[in-house]
Point group: D2
Chain length 242, copies 4
């Protein structure tokens, strides 16, 4: 969260990469770009097209985070077998701060977004794939099909540039009543080389001016190594790498 | 949800039991009282003292519901092992409707509460104990310790009457960073005969006028058989049983 | 287990396929070949080279069988979450009978093997991959490395014919102290199209004339659909299909 | 396994406690008694009456051991969620050595038993309760009901002395097709204060001179703290404590 280090999700804030030019090492060819937190990465993929389309600034999120998010050895099995742990150190604060930065406007610098992400983060006995339950008050009712269409048709700079690891569609919308699920949806993303790079959204509902949905993304691919590769591809295309 | 059948949680709306006097079978000694949904029972135990103390009407909830909530045989193991299912049929609608009724004022009839419960319900691979992540916008900031104190000191009609199955304190507040947990807290409740009858709340936070906490209650004890016994004890004490 | 219906594992008893010529429908072009039980399939892949090399006829096996072996909906989650079920209907008897048939000598008909498989079968909360603990009294001590070498170098008719779905090596031997594991080894098999078709053996020990090891094979690939494809490939190569 | 330190299971080898009199510190009032390994404790409760009744010396065992057996933090959740680990350091050797000592005859010293326990030990995603699959070659066929009767009627010194923590029956035999199970049977033992102190045996079968059954015992009660208390009660009753 250093002021001159961009947090990058190439579909969401590719223009923030310009920040590296202000890093003291940039002249000598060195610079730093970082991945955001694995929970916020999937979330902003869905929030980006929504904040562009609707007028809201409050997002209530509860997470169902996978074991691999804690690294290895991570969570002792006696703590999590048949259990849920309603605490992940620093996670909720990171989601709030990083969402503001990632969704911030670029105007010769990052103007933080007004968005407030109120998270309740929990660990569940699942190997991979962070599921999130999202609830967003809107100023007026909206057709869920319109929300689905906005999410499905979203394309970011990663897609416009055709970055190799970019999924064709960053957000997939499932129409089934019981999706997304970690087991079934964590490897979402086309083509083959972008597997695990798309977020999946399902159960889109709007009731009395509250939009609710579930979202899933792979925490160690999109939220980890795959995200880093995509960032490097963006840096390369922008001429920052060699 | 029939108009003349009370949904009862004796700590929350004991006075609604008067509704049975309007049931067509009441003159002949028969009447019906029902348990609310197992997810809403624990929730209203915490919401009741909060709505009495603060001015709010929006509650965003995400649930982490146990396998036993689906009965037996219930959820096939292949659907839930190492997975989360983001759908429980009718559950979200029931939570909304029943919270309005349970928290409704009695004025010769039930005046539904203004409260809106926006739920995202999911099943997790846990045997017993429904965990809920709660996020409530408040009109102004409040000291989390005050919230804790209000919850801990809450006593309802069940306690005033000393019903045998009533827990001494309906809501227990845990100060630890990582509670409540299904494995550790589902059997909360004192004395011994009230085990599983108390809800446990933890991780109370207030940030920029949003109150967040986690809540746990035992779905088949407080939200099932134990709740029915407590309702019968209330009915007996009020003279409705023989 | 009909006398004229071959149970086939092409690496083990390819010659039994001749049995189909005795089926009443064979003249009209129809015949039946069946897969053996999913627990015995992996086991006989390891037993075949061992019975050819050593003189034994008693095999004590305990199984750790995956959920998918029970089909869908299969085992209720409340029965198996955090539990082990020490019973799988008919499984132990099938393992004994089918091992005798599969390892039987062909002499114009099947001469059942003397082998006795004494199984204790249990279901564990694992999605895919049957693990088996094997204990075999031998007439004399043997070098575990020799056992490893015999298993690793085993090739059957499926390999000699180069059947497309046949793994290059039907039995892989892992040297690590803690393998095979369902999560890590169930998809064993090279090349790519044979993934899940190889059995993995580990922890080979010989102490005072008792050989012990663990074995894993994928119950729905090698023990299911993949096994059927391999049988069909054998039938085709032998000229039984069109 | 020091020569003058008794491994004790009071139902099995209470007389071995005399060994403490040879310990160098005994004269000064100090002595050491140890619990055996948690896997072998349950096993010898069943083997003791069987070796007294039948003529055998080979026992093939496969274990399904609980997470709590590894202590805390113990097994990382990423290693065991939806998986089985076929390795527990030193466990198989300990089971063999300790069974020989525990079942050894006392004749002014311990004469090790001829029994050979051939174990394959594995960890499963279960919180508490070690399940074991046992397979024993016998010299001749035996009625399974007789085996059940021998196990059920077994009483040891702990019962004869009426030690407070001793279960009335050290081995319970379940007639159901699918028992014992960790979830259902780990707390076996009467009266209340002896819960978790009895082993449970089920699925007793004898086929062609091989006896098979499943056995379960609570690894941290009978195989841990409860076993230590029972040993102390024996030492006290024998006059070794104050």
């Amino acid at each position: 969260m250093e002021a001159d280090v961009p947090l990058l999700v190439p579909e969401v804030n590719a223009e923030h990469i310009a920040l590296v030019e202000r890093q003291p090492t940039f002249e000598r060819g060195g610079f730093i770009v970082t991945n955001p937190n694995c929970s916020v990465t999937g979330l902003v993929l869905a929030l980006k097209p929504l904040v562009d389309a609707f007028d809201f600034d409050r997002v209530h999120v509860a997470t169902y985070q996978a074991l691999s998010g804690a690294g290895y050895p991570g969570v002792p099995s006696l703590d999590i077998e048949g259990n849920v742990l309603p605490f992940i150190d620093q996670e909720e604060e990171k989601m709030r701060r990083e969402a503001k930065k990632l969704l911030g406007r670029w105007s010769g610098g990052i103007v933080p977004s007004e968005i407030e992400v109120w998270a309740n983060c929990a660990r569940v006995p699942v190997r991979d794939g962070h599921l999130e339950a999202v609830s967003i008050p809107l100023p007026e009712d909206t057709d869920p099909d319109e929300v689905a269409s906005i999410l499905s048709s979203f394309r970011g700079e990663a897609q416009r540039l055709g970055l190799p690891t970019a999924p064709e569609r960053p957000v997939l919308v499932r129409p089934e009543a019981n999706r997304p699920q970690p087991i079934l949806d964590r490897m979402a993303g086309e083509p083959e080389r972008a597997r695990g790079m798309a977020a999946t959204v399902g159960r889109i509902r709007v009731t009395d001016r509250v939009l609710r949905f579930f979202l899933l993304s792979h925490n160690t691919i999109r939220g980890g190594a795959g995200g880093s590769v995509l960032n490097a591809e963006l840096a390369h295309r922008r001429g920052y790498l060699g």
